[in-house]
Amino acid sequence: MTQLPLLLALQASPPAPPPAVVPADTAWMLVATALVLLMTPALAFFYGGLVRSKSSLNTMMMSFAALGAVGIVWALLAYSLAFSDGTPWLGGTANALLAGVGTEAKGTIPHVLFLAFQGTFAIITAALISGAVVERMRFGPYLVFIVLWTLLVYAPVAHWVWGGGWLMSRGVLDFAGGTVVHINAGVSALVAATVLGARKDYGRQAILPHNVPFTLLGAGLLWFGWFGFNGGSALAASELAALAFTNTLLAPMATLVVWVLLDYFRTGRATAVGGATGIVVGLVAITPAAGFVSPVGALLVGAIAAFPSYFAIVFRSRTRLDDSLDVFAGHGIGGMTGALLTGVFALKAWNSAGADGLLAGNPAQLGVQALGVASSFLYAGLMTFVILKALGFVTALRAAPRTEGLGMDVSQHGEEAYTSGEGSILVMPDDATPATSPAAALRPQTAAR
């Protein structure tokens, strides 16, 4: 998200007129915020379709829960740590507890809208990580993890790249979050999958997607929401927003085509799960580049990005690494490919606030992009490891193997995705659950509701 113009405005000398809210920009950003929020339920469908039916509700709830837990911690503290003035490493607490966030202009949109727009990014980033720990991580520790992760990993990295931190001042180009969102979440997913260990059935029996149409629905809705993600990152209803929007249309098209062709030539079949994955990888790859490259550049970014992620998934599935829904291959590798290709294809002719890339005769930009990739990779990886290990000392991160075998839906939520109702007996509110039942002791909340 280029806030370069915004920051320049803030740093301008006092005689400049106070920034004013522009209605057109506000209108577009209101829509864009709603679009990005939709991406988290979309992710729930994308992920939910890829797991076994006995854990599908739990998988979807991991995304939905971020809407609540991460959204609140964002509004109360993480926003301030990311976007208020502070050191090059971390923002201050000037906007903590929503202090000083009113309807005054931030750039050309109301400050509250800026907070809301950025909040939707924090929510989906945390939710993305869940794909690496599905079908085994207990729900409570997961909630604590995403809250801590938002404060300790997302907020600092967002500050580095967008909030006036050290990567921003070095000129790292990250239009809508290739580094902050995707590399960050992808690397954290890799570490989380390693710390938690593989599902008990992983590598011993086939673990198949239970609802591929859900996955296609999720991919489609993610694409729809991503227009707000990238187009909205212009923070204005501008030419730049139109460029980012169009690039968000073109890049995934190219990735989809290349991915399906790779599938076809490797296995002789064009798969639906492959197509859905290709769309998401294309969206990830164009995210850092959306407002810096030409539409032709976007097609090339999308086409090239299919290769590293595709072969990373092929390789990963032969290892013991149970990054269950390939968050690292999709978002980590896709994000890194996009961030580096931004340094290759960026053109100042399309965005004067951006920079020229390698092909326009500025190889230094590629180095700057690599610095952004490496620093967020190391920081997110290290911090995720520390948070999960610390949490693991306090409580068990994983469900017991028996619980895992039964499925996470019944054990974590007391519900099933697909019930027939056969053999079920209605419990009247008064005599709720027999106190002697061990099942009731395990789920005290059922009696309370």
Partner: protein, 120 residues
């Protein structure tokens, strides 16, 4: 010649299949069934509606075996399906009058003994 019918937990099915495979028991039928074996009821809540799931999902295995295989098969199931908690299931061993293999028309022992063993 016996028919072994086993009711087991669905989450133990893969372990049982693996154990049967190792014991060289080939040829079986698996069906998903609902049943109740005295285990505690599972309680679920849907927007204020609390229900007790009296019937649990179980898996039924049906395996026709020749006499030498009865003990092997039963032991393989017992060892692999046990969790030690109520609801692990049952194994029934039933007499069988006749068995016919449809493809070849083989009868009785010949129709249920693993081919490799029969040729020895």
């Amino acid at each position: 010649m016996k028919l072994i019918v086993a009711i087991i937990r669905p989450d133990r099915l893969n372990e049982v299949l693996e154990a049967l495979y190792r014991a060289e028991v080939r040829g079986l039928t698996v069906s998903r069934v609902l049943g109740h074996g005295g285990e505690t009821d599972r309680v679920e809540t849907y927007r204020g509606t609390t229900v007790k799931m009296e019937l649990q999902e179980k898996v039924r295995l049906e395996i026709g075996v020749s006499e030498p295989f009865v003990g092997i098969t039963v032991n393989a199931i017992l060892a692999s399906a046990r969790t030690g908690e109520v609801g692990d299931g049952k194994v029934f061993v039933l007499e069988v009058d006749q068995v016919h293999r449809i493809r070849t028309g083989e009868r009785d022992e010949g129709a249920v003994t693993p081919t490799a063993l029969a040729q020895v």
